[in-house]
Structures are given as C-alpha cells and as structure tokens.
Symmetry: C2
Subunit: 439 residues, 2 copies
Amino acid sequence: MNDNVNMCLLPIEGIKIIVDLEEIKIVDYNDRVKVPVPKSEGTDYRLSKQKPPYDPRINRAAIVQPDGPGFQIDGHTTSWMNWVFHLSFDARVGQVISLASIYDSEKHKHRSVLFKGHVSELFVPYQDPTDEYYFKTFFAVENSDCPNNAVFMDGYYAGQDGKLVKVPNVFCIFERHAGDAMWRHTELDVPDKTEARPEVSLVARMIATIGNYDPALDWEFKPSGSIKIQATTHTHVEQIKEDVYGTLLGDNTVGLYHDHFLIYRLDVDIDVSDNTTPRKSYWTVVSETAKTESEAKIQLGLKPAELVFVNPNKKTKPGNSYGYRLIPGLTTRAFTKYNVWVTQYNKSEIWAGGRYVDQSHGEDTLAVWSLRNREIDNKDMVFWYVIGIHHLPCQEDFPLMPTLSAGFELRPTNFFESSPVLKVKPPKPVTLPKCSAIP
Amino acid sequence: MNDNVNMCLLPIEGIKIIVDLEEIKIVDYNDRVKVPVPKSEGTDYRLSKQKPPYDPRINRAAIVQPDGPGFQIDGHTTSWMNWVFHLSFDARVGQVISLASIYDSEKHKHRSVLFKGHVSELFVPYQDPTDEYYFKTFFAVENSDCPNNAVFMDGYYAGQDGKLVKVPNVFCIFERHAGDAMWRHTELDVPDKTEARPEVSLVARMIATIGNYDPALDWEFKPSGSIKIQATTHTHVEQIKEDVYGTLLGDNTVGLYHDHFLIYRLDVDIDVSDNTTPRKSYWTVVSETAKTESEAKIQLGLKPAELVFVNPNKKTKPGNSYGYRLIPGLTTRAFTKYNVWVTQYNKSEIWAGGRYVDQSHGEDTLAVWSLRNREIDNKDMVFWYVIGIHHLPCQEDFPLMPTLSAGFELRPTNFFESSPVLKVKPPKPVTLPKCSAIP
C-alpha cells in the first residue's frame, strides 16, 4: 500500500465476510472475484499534495459582523429574528429540530410551526447487483464546512454504558448572507421609489460521514416564515465494475450510477397540533380536503399539486385558514413511489424504513403504516418528504465530486395577516475598514 | 389620492383605453365596471414610513475582501477563476451572456461552453379573463439589490435616433460566498483527513421592472464548470376580483393566481459548435441519440430524462464524449407543454413567442419552428428552457411578496478528464480586524 489516503478510491473488491456479533465469530468468508485495483495517481485530494496549485485566484474573503452574531443560544435553544427553535443530537439521525415557533407581531406571541423534524431514513441504492457493502457513520462539522461567522455546538447522547457521550462541534449555526434580496419593489413613474432588503437567513448545519458519502444537512430559517430543508451530497465512491452499470472514469475505475434518498419526518403543528390539508385545484379555489392517509400521498411532477397544512378552526381577517404550504424541490421518482406522505401521528412511527432497517421484516415501515389509511383530517399529522438525488457519475466527480443539492421549503400561507418582513429594518451599512489590521 | 406610493395596490379597475400610436389618437374607451379601491392602509413599504420597526435584530454584516475582487473586467469581458465571458445589454432582453469558455488546465486552453444565452420570452398569464393590462419595462440594479462586494456595469443600446443610450448600473457582478462547500471529503479511520473547500461563485445579475413585477435574473458561474441560471420573482400585484380566481387578501383586495414563465434561449457550443444529444436510459448506458427536434423535446417530471450536449467527435481518455448536462429545477407544466426544446440553429429564431409577441400571427414561434422537425444531430444547436413559477398569492405576499426562485444548471459531464476543482487552493484565512475603523 502506498501513502495515498483516498482509500475509497482503492477498494479491494469481491470479498465478503459475515460476522456473528454475538459469538464474535466469522461465519462466512467469500472471495468472489479478483478485480484489479485502480491506479492511485491523481486521487489525493489533500492540499499539501497539490503542486502547483491550479488556480490561486480565489481571493480571501470573510463576513464581518461588527455587532456579533444576530442570534442567541441558550443551552440548545436558538433565538434569531422572529424564530425560536431547539436543536439537539440523536445518536441515530444526528440533527433534531423541535419546538420551532415564529413570533407574530400582530398577535404579540410566538406561534407553533414544527413540533419535531429530522431525517428518518437515508438510502443510497447502488445500481450494482453484487453485494459488497459497507456502512459506518460519524458526525462532525469542521471549520472548513462552515463560513467564518459560524458558531459551533456540541451534541450529547447516552453511551452503551449509560454514560453521557459528548460529540464536539456536531453542528454549526450561522447567518447566511448569500447576496440575494428578501423583497424588492420599484414603483413605476415614482423616482427613487425602489427599496429592497437583503435576504439573511439562519442555517443549522450537520454533516454525517457515512462510508464514502458526506451529506451536509441544512435547516434554514427565514424571517419571512419559511423553513428550507436541504441536503447537499458529496459522494466519492468509485468502484470497479463492468461498464453497463456506470461510467468508465479511468483505468479500472467506474463510477456507479446511484440514487440518494433522504426521507424526512416532520411532525408539523401549524398554529396548533391538529391540522387539516385542504387541496386546491390549481386555478380555482374549490378546495377538497385530504381526509385520509391515502388521499394525501403525492407523486410530485405528475400533475400540479399543492399541499397545505392549516389550522381549520381559525381564520385570518379576510377568512383564510392559517396555513403553511409545501414548495417542493426537484424530484426523482423511485423506490418509495410517492414523494410526499402524510400520516396520523403515532409515537412509534419514527423510522420510515423500519426500526432495524435491513433486519426489519417490512411490517414496520411507512408504506405499511399508511395502508391502514387512517383519518388525518383535523388530527395531529406527520409529514414525510422524500428527497431524491439521481447521480450519474462523470469524470468531473473523480476523485472528488462537486456538491449537488436538493431540498424543499415550507412557506407560510395565510398564517400571518400580512407580510411578516415588511417592517424588518435593514441593517445599517458597514463601512469597510481600511486599517492595517487586515493582514 | 393620498400620499401612498404603492400604486400597484391602488388600481382603478375596469377602464381600457386603446390608442393609435401612428395617429396619436384614442380610438376606444371602455369603462366596463366600477370597482371599489382597496384601502391603502398597511401598503406603504418604505422604511421611512415604518414605525416602530418590527425587528432591528438583522445585524450589520459585510463581506471583506482584503485583496479586492477576484475578477477582472476588461470592457464587457469578465475573467474569474477558470471562466471568461462577455456580458452585454440588449434593449429587449437586457442581459446577454456570450462567448463563455472555461480554462482546461490539462489541455492548457480555454474551451467553449456557451456561444450566447439570454431570456427569449417572459410571460405572466394572470388567471383573470378580463382584459385590463399594462406593460412597461425598465432595467436597473440598485445598491440594495446586490451585496456590498458587487461591482456595477453600465449597458448601452442604440436609441430611436441612432445615438448611443447609456443605461447606468444595469448589471452587478459579485463573488457569492453563501457559506456552502464546493467539495468535502473525510477519509474513514484516518484522523485529520477531512478537507473541504468553500464554494465561491461569480454572479452576473440584472433586474427588470415590468409593471408590478421585478424579476432578478442571475447567471452564476462555478469553478466546477457549472453555469446556474436563476430567476427570482417579486410580484406585488393585487387586483380586485371575485374570489374564484384568487385569494382574498384584505378589504377589496384579491391576489390573482398566476404563473411566471421565462423562456431562456441558449446557443450552447460544448467544446465545438456542432453538438449531439445522446439520451441515456436511467440505469444502463445504452444511449440513443435525439436526432431531430421532436425527439429532443422533454416534459420534465413525467419520466426520468437526462439531457446531455456532447461533442461527438472527441473523447476523453477513458472514452466518454466531452459533454455538459442539464440539471433541471422545479418544474411547472403549462402553456408551452414542453419544458425543454432543442432546435437547429437559425439566426432568425430568437424570440420564442414571435418577434412582435402579441401582434404576431403565431407563425414565427418556437412551437412552429420545431414542427419542421429538423435534424439536430451533430449540428449547431439551440437549447430552450422554460422556467415556470406558479404563484398562488397568500396574505404574506401583501403588500410585498417574499422572493421565490427557480432555475436550472448546466453541469460538465466528462467535459474534463477529472475534477477541475481538486487543485483549487483554498484562500488564506482572513483575520478579522479588531481596529476602530469599523464604525
């Protein structure tokens, strides 16, 4: 073995070992096939090994916030602008957002949006019918994963001996200044009547390293009331297989076609815990309500569909129900058949793929629960969303793949009486320092 | 009339005046119906009129770049990292990107990606069968539309008298630091083997004010070779209509349901001017080539589809054709039926909706040109993409709508031999100044 670190690119293929963990004993060993190992040339991603650096023209840049961050963290509760939410760590899923509520300046109180939200299942089916497989997960964000204005947070879980285990720097929290506008308006024929406010949002980020796969999971809160949930994938596996399942990337190296699926579970509590999902036909407001779990399933992309969660018992002044709606992202349809599911809340229904996943017998999965077709109208509902990213590897992904993102957004829809951001004051401009303190 | 400036919210409805512009004469006047004018209360968006400001907690923030911007502008040509492109102004469509090419560090030359790209058509069909209508466009970006590190560029066009007309500050150009990673990798079981590079991209932005509608149009260039094209809408029209076509937003105010369609025209030249579009079935690489215009049309969302443009006459070392592929965004299907069209290049085919739009007789439109079903295989091709945003207004959009975005991405696919960003050197960290120069 040479000193190259990019082991994912140098797999020894074709060996499968099955271990009985109770007996700590190898019960099966199968050396199916010998495959040539790919060349390691060009696979080292470390900066120290790049010479000469290709392009030094990424200039130094940083966000300055002379008044410090705009959010406050008290234990695991973060307050920022009109949002308050709790962020905690779970040994299985990592990031858990709970009790997210938003301040209503007209009603003078915080109003509930999300009781609890997290990833329920992560599934990366490789289009490779052979069965070598590995799986190992750990969680941590590095400084380089987050911008310079980020604040890091530790996580905790109960270890096998019952003692507290600390996971340092498992999350980062930062204000995102991406250079976009929150709103903008020009009044025609009225000079100097353009105003705009910069879009600033709060991001809570976690990165899970799962074998060759490092998804960054972002929960982004916007002052407008939106919650945007995004998964960014970075996959680097290259395996050696016959060409039909992948793209030949180099000597003995084939990138396998695969999908990335993340199933999110969101226990939404829009204003109150019991919600209703009225359905609108696209061009008239004749609403039907999805009354059962089967009526609420959606195959995105097939026809225009709008999913809204409302408090059916309260109305705005003009008579609309308080609600939040789904803005879906790009969709890949596949194994789950539906992208969107709604189930009646049941405290045991947490893991879409079953509590023990591949050791489950298939009886405790989302697909089976929803066959009971329970009533959801005016009940506490759980919303399931399947993010799918279809990845056909190409040579640009070798040895490291540029990021690819997908996500969805929950956006207030007649939850407020009017725009919650109209009265947000734009920050005073920062005069950039010209002093010698910038090295 | 009171001193409220938000005229879009105070329309005098039901009046239609038709003017003969050759004779400068009113030829028809129709006062169809009297409609009560909405209340102006709560519609003034100007900061000076907000008291008290709702939330002052958006802290001051700015991007500092001690070495200045990382791009160079020479006339209308911008160079940044591995990209070079030309940005110019057209009186009808605004922003025109041309001769975009990317440096290949292995071939030691710039290689063509896009010959010319711009919006061909913008269409906002309101679901309102009555015919009051207005249309007026102007272009300009304001300081508040772009981050503090933006550089502004003027545009020029030939006026009616043949003289040069300058449009000041029509574009802004800036490096976007949104806090994401360009790539990231952790090697399992090897300590301290996580590296990541911050994602930095170059954005060229234009904002068009068209009646009540202010779309921000971004062309974003990434060091990975991707070009991301995005339209962000900010619509503020509220009209007074019976409830069936919209949502009641307040006294006498109804937000009309509507779609936003932008049709982009991209004369792609991937490596060379004559390209081919192989089609892949999703899970095996049996490629079929779309040989004619009708074979290349796509209804996104209906079934998995991959659109790739390749130079059919050159191969990478492992034998893949140099290519770029489409990563579509969220899709709204509607009037154009197809989201994606490919036509053989024809210099007269620029305007998807016809040269004179609503005065056209329908014979010079994209739908008609493509009926000729010309060969596209190994020809100079034009790629048309329809961005659709479906807008069901809600009370949060009153009086000003938070932004909503949609777009698509062209991403290199075996265009390079390997990742073009592996060797990008991360910028040296900026030590934030603690001097008194920050006010």
